[in-house]
Amino acid sequence: MNVKERAMRAPTIELRDVVKVYGSGPAGVRALDRVSLAVAPGEFVAISGPSASGKSTLLHLAGGLDGPTSGTVTVGGEDLAHLRPAELARVRRRQVGYVFQRYNLVASLTAVENVMLPLEFGGMPTRQARGAAVAAIERVGISRPFDRFPDDLSGGERQRVAIARAIAGDRDAILADEPTGALDTITGDLVIELLAELAAAGTSIVLVTHEPRFATWADRVVFMRDGRIVDESVAAAPPSPPAEPPVEVLSP
């Protein structure tokens, strides 16, 4: 999908003039200060900034885990403030997937069962949920067997299972909060590259990271400071198919 095509489609997630204050009165902390951000379908946005700059708060609000003090948050064109609790739960379960630093997998469930869990909570019949879970796990590149437990998986594999859980059931957006925090550089690169591939296939990605290495995979890097967006960097060209590896010439 090119930039023009993206611009013609309504944003998957949009924050408009969002203010978030924790606490009240003089002790209140203004975590977000008039932040506006629109994430297009298939766009990969990284949010970068020092601790307490508001990046995690932004992610929570974008996923409807918390509401703004003022301003609007829309997901798939729906203003979250206008939804009933049951509808909000549906948005959180069906449209948006979350990935965290600590994977948050259930140790007593296999990889495929972990991925099935939110689908079944969402009311999907077991058989169908299993099919969707297996499809998602295959997509993130986990090797068989899929009935291994989290303890039998490497850190990178666990994060892949967590990403499979986030995309299973065709979610429109993935919100990832420091997903590489517990991974080494090469494994982290592979996880971020997977997110970039999912974006290229149409899923919107919002990645919060303080690591410049991982932020630069994104189409757009948004810099935050003191609850505000201070700058952004847009990649010069839209993602193109990987070039022929130049290694052929060097092969014996």
């Binding site: 020092p50 090469i186 303080h210 290495r213 630069t216 700058d231 960097s233 847009v234 990649a235 290694v247």
Partner: protein, 211 residues
Amino acid sequence: MHTAYVSVRQGLLALLDQADMYGYQLRSEFEAYTGGAWPLNIGQVYTTLERLERDGLVAITRPAEGDGEDRPAAGGSGGREHKYYAITRAGRDALRDWFEATAGDEPPPRDELLAKVLLALAGGREHALAVVTRQRTALTAALQARRRGLRPTATSPGNGVTALAPTLVADALVSRAEADLRWLDVCEARLAQLSRPAGNGTTPSDDQGEP
């Protein structure tokens, strides 16, 4: 240091942008702002001032009326009246261009980036934050572009050690740019912690004792 000469030029302009100064003052202010990274001898200061004057970026001016703040210069210039220098309009333009200039495809020479951020402090906290933000955005954009041509898994692992070389070369460039980005992040965090503007043209007082 090779790049120091370039930075001396910009450094003197950045200081004169805050106040008119004479040679010895410029040297001590320059050393204070660059954290001792580039010791200067007074000869370099005067040579640079002469070239800046020749290029129309600074002009010799009279000492201010009733200026009682002359420090005893390190070289002991006796009772001789100091030759004060002032930045010209062309000098201000050149300085602004330098702060705004960002490297293109490649990470900038590290010393140049360091000098730019240190000297931006002379313009105060907000100016320094703006310079850090601009440099970081430019560096991020360069790295984003490079990422597009660098997909680790696109290189088949089965091609032997020679196949690894282009990847390692690319990794080296990316790692260097990352280090610069991380340093700019630290600069931002430290600057953000300064509650008051860093002053205008005066020596920052409490910047010792950082690890």
